[in-house]
């Protein structure tokens, strides 16, 4: 919904002016803060290269200044000193990701092979990113493999990355093993419009979690038993946790009290009719 489609602001003391509201202004993020070992290594490498280039430039500047001073018969400038790497003594630094060494991650990588895109550990937490078409297989393995046994899906959620080019969302599965007292995070990266397989086939508790993801992010799941909104009323426009959604919404705060606004009464009636075997559909005169 663009600005042109916004509701006209009627006069009155209690009507919110959506077009000039400060909460309507959106600032999209320019970075992709997706944690990962490969990205971390690349970032470190780029940083080191930049520092090296800076040092080389300092050296070259010194050489030219020295040659110039010699030609003019002046005193040579002092040689630059390579700055020692800064020591960070604070213990508040967030731990950096490291390569996968935990037996669970190694086992997953062994079982899934090249379906694992990335696996790393950070702050004692295991993360495994699998191909977006193979998430069901990975979940099934995590639940049923004798050496993994992650029998609980603690949480399932998503994140929106509008600045990323090759994907738009990450869907994250937080698994817990009650027997082994371990936690594992599975992750898939999906583009806009991609419909991942529903985890309800393996973890029935994913039902409402996936409904919430659909409500908040607009990611639909294939083979989900009831892909409807859960938090927002039915008939809501937009998905509020997307980054391009303004905080005050798109004009839904103007209240509309028509009967059965959300269609819930109609739905309940249809369900009850289905249980009783009654056909509620009235034949209409043509």
């Amino acid at each position: 919904m663009s600005d042109a489609n916004l509701p006209e602001t009627p006069a009155g003391p209690y009507v919110y002016d959506y077009k000039t509201a400060p909460n309507r202004q959106i600032e999209l993020p320019k970075t992709v803060p997706l944690p990962g070992y490969r990205a971390y290594v690349a970032e470190q490498k780029a940083q080191a290269e930049a520092e090296e280039a800076k040092w080389q430039k300092q050296l070259a500047d010194y050489e030219t200044a020295k040659a110039k001073a010699e030609a003019e018969g002046k005193e040579a400038p002092t040689a630059p000193v390579k700055p020692a790497p800064k020591k960070n003594d604070t213990d508040m630094v967030f731990p950096a990701p490291t390569e996968a060494q935990a037996p669970d991650l190694l086992r997953l990588m062994e079982l899934l092979g090249d379906k694992v895109e990335e696996a790393f550990e950070q702050a004692g937490e295991m993360t495994c990113q699998v191909g977006r078409d193979h998430i069901l297989e990975a979940l099934k393995l995590c639940r049923e493999d004798a050496s993994l046994k992650y029998e609980m899906l603690a949480d399932e959620t998503a994140t929106h990355y509008p600045a990323a080019t090759d994907f738009a969302f990450s869907v994250v599965y937080h698994l817990t093993s009650l027997a082994r007292k371990k936690r594992l995070r599975l992750r898939i990266l999906i583009p806009e419009g991609f419909e991942p397989q529903s985890a309800t086939q393996i973890y029935p508790g994913a039902n409402w979690l996936e409904r919430e993801i659909w409500d908040m992010f607009g990611i639909r799941f294939q083979h989900h038993p009831d892909m409807t909104r859960i938090l927002c009323p039915e008939g809501w426009e937009g998905h509020p946790l997307r980054k391009e959604y303004p905080v005050v919404g798109w004009g839904q705060r103007d209240i509309d009290f028509r009967d059965d606004r959300s269609g819930m009464l109609n739905r309940i009636a249809l369900e009850k009719a289905g249980q009783l075997g009654i056909n509620l559909k009235q034949p209409k005169a043509e």
């Binding site: 209690y14 909460n23 009323p233 303004p246 005050v248 919404g249 705060r253 209240i255 606004r261």
Partner: protein, 170 residues
């Protein structure tokens, strides 16, 4: 020697007053609120009803579990867009005379939630008699607001409900 005033039997038996005042007095001292809560203000309302503060001293401690037996709707908490039709439905089910208290910042003006899902004050869907600020208000604040409501009830007139009709006729 003075004359000792002997009260007559009539003075022991009869109190003279106005019907309106009796009606208002009985209404103001037996306001039954509805069992109804939305957010953290409801916790404070429950504390007001419990033994330490004892809401019932003012005659409004009998929380009715149905809107059809309630006189007062305390709206304690954030009114979301999804909850608004339900609140409106409950308010419509309450019989006259009825009053409403908006308890806390959220119910009065939306509070900190200037966002897509929150209605900016419950007064956009139901008429409110008393607003109590606070996040959440202390039980004392709720008592003070309720006593203000009692004052308002005491000033009401039996002709109030007919006044609008007469004014329309002119």
């Amino acid at each position: 020697m003075g004359v000792i005033h002997q009260p007559s039997s009539f003075e022991n038996l009869l109190i003279t007053t106005r019907v309106e005042k009796v009606m208002n007095w009985s209404r103001a001292t037996s306001v039954w609120p509805m069992t109804f809560g939305l957010a953290c203000c409801a916790i404070e309302m429950m504390a007001s009803g419990a033994a330490r503060f004892d809401f019932d001293r003012f005659g409004c401690g009998i929380f009715r579990a149905t809107p059809r037996q309630a006189d007062l709707m305390i709206v304690p908490g954030t009114v979301t867009y999804k909850m608004a039709p339900t609140i409106k439905l409950l308010w419509d089910q309450m019989p006259e005379p009825k009053w409403a208290i908006a308890m806390g910042s959220c119910a009065t003006c939306g509070g900190p939630f200037d966002s897509y899902h929150t209605i900016q004050g419950v007064d956009k869907i139901i008429p409110v008699d008393v607003y109590i600020p606070g996040c959440p208000p202390r039980p004392e604040a709720l008592f003070y607001g309720f006593m203000k409501l009692q004052d308002k009830i005491m000033t009401s007139s039996l002709a109030d409900r007919y006044r609008e009709i007469f004014e329309e006729v002119g």
